[in-house]
């Protein structure tokens, strides 16, 4: 999709995302050190020729830990978003197409859930389910579902009254054809864009959970956990916190910018004509 690369935000997002993708796919292989190996002689150092991004309190190489932690951190964001978006879209499409009291009941319940802040909601679920990556991912997905359902529903509602959908109804098309072929392909744009942006939130919530000790457990190299572990040594060596913190920010920014650019290019009027 070269259209997306025409805008500066699209380029910035794509560059950041390709960096993240390289880290996720090849990170463990190109890491210069074993991410768990202690080097007591070089504890809490800044960037140097030997350790490009410095070392942590055990002398572990930060670059290696960062590369090693990329798959779990990004995978967490993608997985949680995918689950949440999937569930939310199904619920939203059901509510949007059914209308009437089905719609009212579903949406009132979701409104109630939306009133609880996402992070608080996630914490609540994690408390019930217990700590760990799997549980945290499920919790984030559940926290995302109401918002995604609302977006999917509003998108479906705006499409449902378009004249081509009315034409299909007037023709007597079966309901599943109308939903799957006429409504959903046109309603998908906002959902995909929102999903892309939400990956960045998921990464940040995942990192927060790691930081609070409710997600990944030591000695995992999940980025949020890295920040949490380095917090005590922040004043002696800021690199311990800054390196994983900046990595989280850049990955989140990448998804966010990419999602923004995606929204523009997904408009069929713009993408085909060029």
């Amino acid at each position: 999709m070269p259209e997306i690369l025409r805008s500066p935000t699209g380029i910035a997002g794509a560059v950041l995302l390709s960096l993240v993708a390289v880290a996720v796919l090849a990170g463990s292989f190109v890491a210069p050190y074993d991410p768990q190996a202690f080097h007591p002689a070089t504890r809490l150092t800044g960037p140097s020729a030997a350790h490009w991004l410095g070392t942590d309190q055990f002398g572990r190489d930060l670059l290696s830990r960062l590369l090693n932690g990329a798959p779990s951190t990004i995978g967490f964001g993608l997985g949680a978003t995918l689950l949440g978006v999937g569930a939310g879209t199904v619920i939203g499409v059901i509510a949007g197409t059914a209308g009437g009291w089905v719609d009212s009941v579903i949406m009132r319940v979701l409104d109630g859930l939306l009133a609880v802040p996402e992070l608080l909601f996630t914490l609540l679920i994690v408390t019930i389910l217990g700590g760990g990556m799997g549980q945290a991912m499920l919790a984030v997905a559940l926290a995302f579902t109401p918002g995604m359902a609302r977006i999917a529903r509003s998108s479906v509602l705006s499409i449902r009254t378009r004249e081509y959908v009315l034409a299909a109804v007037a023709r007597g098309e079966p309901g599943c054809y109308i939903v799957l072929r006429e409504v959903l392909p046109n309603a998908l744009g906002p959902i995909i864009v929102e999903a892309t942006i939400r990956v960045s939130f998921a990464i940040m919530i995942g990192a927060t959970l790691g930081f609070l000790g409710l997600g990944a457990q030591p000695p995992s190299t999940e980025w949020g956990l890295m920040v949490a572990e380095g917090r005590q040594f922040m004043f002696r060596n800021p690199w311990v916190v800054a390196v994983p913190g900046v990595a989280i920010a850049l990955a989140a920014l990448g998804f966010n910018l990419f999602g923004d650019a995606l929204r523009d290019s997904l408009d069929p009027r713009r993408s085909v004509r060029g």
Binding site: R162, E163, L166, V169, R171, G172, N186
Partner: protein
């Protein structure tokens, strides 16, 4: 106050003005070498189809161009003062006090959170330095001049508490308030109903006489311009094709484009339709006592507020369509004509009975596939009626598949035939809707309706969103298809002149009721319903150009 001068002094001069827009696919020329002069006390009508650059010109005069606009050359001057050389602060002074603008839709050009009076007084306070009380009093006087019965009352209302016509009167009063030298009207009656539009035009004429203001009147409607303007300029693709005194240009157009435009204006005396059907033939499709209630309330709502009445979209509407007939349904917005289209095509719940080929349907869910195949609908907006993510071939083959009209291996060929039937090249099958123009899209929508080989096609304002010339060709196409296939048609429109060219019988709807039904030939008969007569009176038939060649009639774009 306004830079007086004798009538005939040029107020606005546009000289060899060119404008283009920077787009990702290169510069787009919007205006090419435009020359115009509007004299004091005169109205210049600027006529063009959508995309002709007429609104771009209005915005250049108002000095309100988007960032990607590039002014290449030329001069814009107001009483000799170069507008292009004015600083932004000077422009702010000129806007509203020396040049005013009236927009198309009063519903969106007024701020819904401010009282009408505040919006009117604001202009006076800003430009004439009046105090709030003076401005309010002056505003009342301005409103009184526009013929509003109780101006003081109207000043205190919010926009949603006034009708479209009243709102447009307020906008016009605001434009005239500071006694400007020039007023730019951008399609000021297009969003209004026919009868209201007529009143607004009369008001415009009266105020112009009183104030002697110069006006640039932008419109796509030639008939309308011939009524309000002394001079006319026809614009096509950014170029002024022809200009001169209205009477001259309309009587004897010199350029082929102007002629084609004039010939495309619907004239009731030029019959386009098919031969009338046998009046004794049994009705094909009937509506009997159709009643539609909008906003039907729950039992709780009825309990809490029993006297409130539901809004009726249709009240006891009944009519019959004969085989091969074209039945016109005419009405203003909100008259219930589109409600009837939705009832007949099974999109709207109703009370009453729809009869088709001897069978009766009492409710929407009773319509079966055979009925839905036999009664097809074409919608108003060509942009919205085709799924943007499906190719034309997929759009057209869907009814063929759904109703099993041709065997699967014949479908692609049938799509080609359908496209040719609506005068489109067969290779359009591979395109997406956004690669087509508005008129082409509407042809595809018509082809989709005819693909089902229906007995009746319901056309819901199918020409309303199209340019005049395209409108004429789509209307002709519909009649040709009717002639070829013998399909009956319910043609819903607000344009009486158009429907009188096509329909065998015309029904008139007003506020959900069918108030009149007559044979087209008897449209001018004295026994017509008063409302029908009011509609006819509000839509005078434009004069035809003198040397109309009947052979050219059918070869329009």
């Amino acid at each position: 106050m306004s830079g007086a001068g004798e009538p005939g002094t040029p107020v606005l001069e546009v000289a060899s003005y060119s404008l283009s827009y920077r787009t990702p696919s290169g510069p787009l020329e919007a205006l090419k070498d435009v020359d115009l002069t509007v004299e004091r006390g005169h109205t210049l009508g600027l006529v063009g189809e959508s995309g002709s650059g007429k609104s771009s010109l209005a915005w250049s005069i108002m000095r309100y161009l988007p960032d990607n606009a590039v002014e290449n050359d030329g001069r814009l001057s107001l009483l000799g003062e170069d507008l292009r050389a004015c600083s932004p602060a000077e422009i702010l002074e000129i806007r509203g006090s020396r040049i005013a603008m009236v927009f198309q839709d009063p519903g969106t050009s007024l701020n819904p959170t401010l009282r009408l009076g505040e919006q009117l007084a604001e202009v006076l306070m800003r430009h004439q330095g009046l105090t709030q009380q003076q401005a309010w009093a002056e505003g009342e006087a301005a409103l009184a001049r526009t013929g509003i019965a109780r101006p003081a009352d109207m000043m205190r209302r919010f926009p949603h508490e006034a009708s479209g016509g009243e709102k447009q009167r307020v906008v016009i009063a605001t434009a005239f308030a500071c006694n400007p030298e020039l007023i730019v009207f951008d399609e000021p009656t297009t969003a209004l109903d026919t009868i209201t539009a007529q009143q607004i035009l009369e008001l415009f004429g009266r105020l112009r006489e009183e104030t002697g203001v110069a006006a640039l009147y932008i419109s796509h409607d030639l008939g309308l311009v011939s009524r309000v303007a002394q001079d006319v300029a026809v614009i096509n693709r950014g170029e002024i094709v022809e200009s001169g005194p209205c009477a001259e240009v309309f009587r004897a157009p010199r350029r082929p484009y102007t002629r084609a435009l004039l010939e495309a204006v619907p004239r009731p005396d030029q019959w386009l339709g098919t031969a009338p059907p046998d009046p004794a033939a049994p009705a094909l499709l009937t509506a009997e006592g159709i009643r539609v209630e909008y906003g039907a309330r729950s039992w709780l709502g009825r309990l809490l507020n029993p006297p409130a009445e539901a809004f009726l979209g249709a009240k006891d509407v009944g009519f019959a369509v004969r085989p091969g007939e074209l039945l016109g349904i005419v009405g203003e917005s909100g008259s219930g004509k589109s409600t009837m289209a939705k009832v007949l095509s099974g999109l709207q719940d109703f009370d009453g009975r729809v009869g088709f080929e001897g069978r009766g349907f009492q409710r929407r869910r009773a319509f079966d596939r055979a009925y839905r195949r036999a009664v097809q609908i074409v919608f108003q907006h060509p942009d919205a009626s085709l799924n943007p993510r499906q190719r034309i071939s997929e759009i057209l083959s869907r009814p063929l598949k759904l109703y099993d009209i041709v065997p699967p291996e014949r479908r692609a060929a049938r799509v080609g035939e359908l496209l040719e039937q609506v005068r489109l090249p067969a290779d359009f099958a591979g395109r997406y809707p956004h690669q087509l123009s508005g008129g082409e899209k509407q042809r595809v929508a018509i082809a989709r309706a005819f693909a089902a080989e229906p007995a009746v096609v319901i056309c819901d304002e199918i020409t309303a969103a199209l340019d005049v010339s395209v409108q004429a060709s789509v209307a002709r196409l519909l009649v040709d298809l009717q002639r070829e296939t013998g399909t009956a048609c319910v043609f819903i429109t607000h344009d009486l002149n158009l429907v009188r060219q096509l329909a065998h019988r015309i029904g008139v709807m007003n506020r959900g009721e069918l108030v009149d039904m007559f044979d087209t030939a008897e449209a001018d008969a004295p026994e017509r319903h008063p409302y029908t007569r009011a509609l006819l009176g509000a839509m005078p038939v434009p004069a035809a150009p003198e040397t109309t060649d009947p052979l050219k009639e059918r070869s329009l774009p």
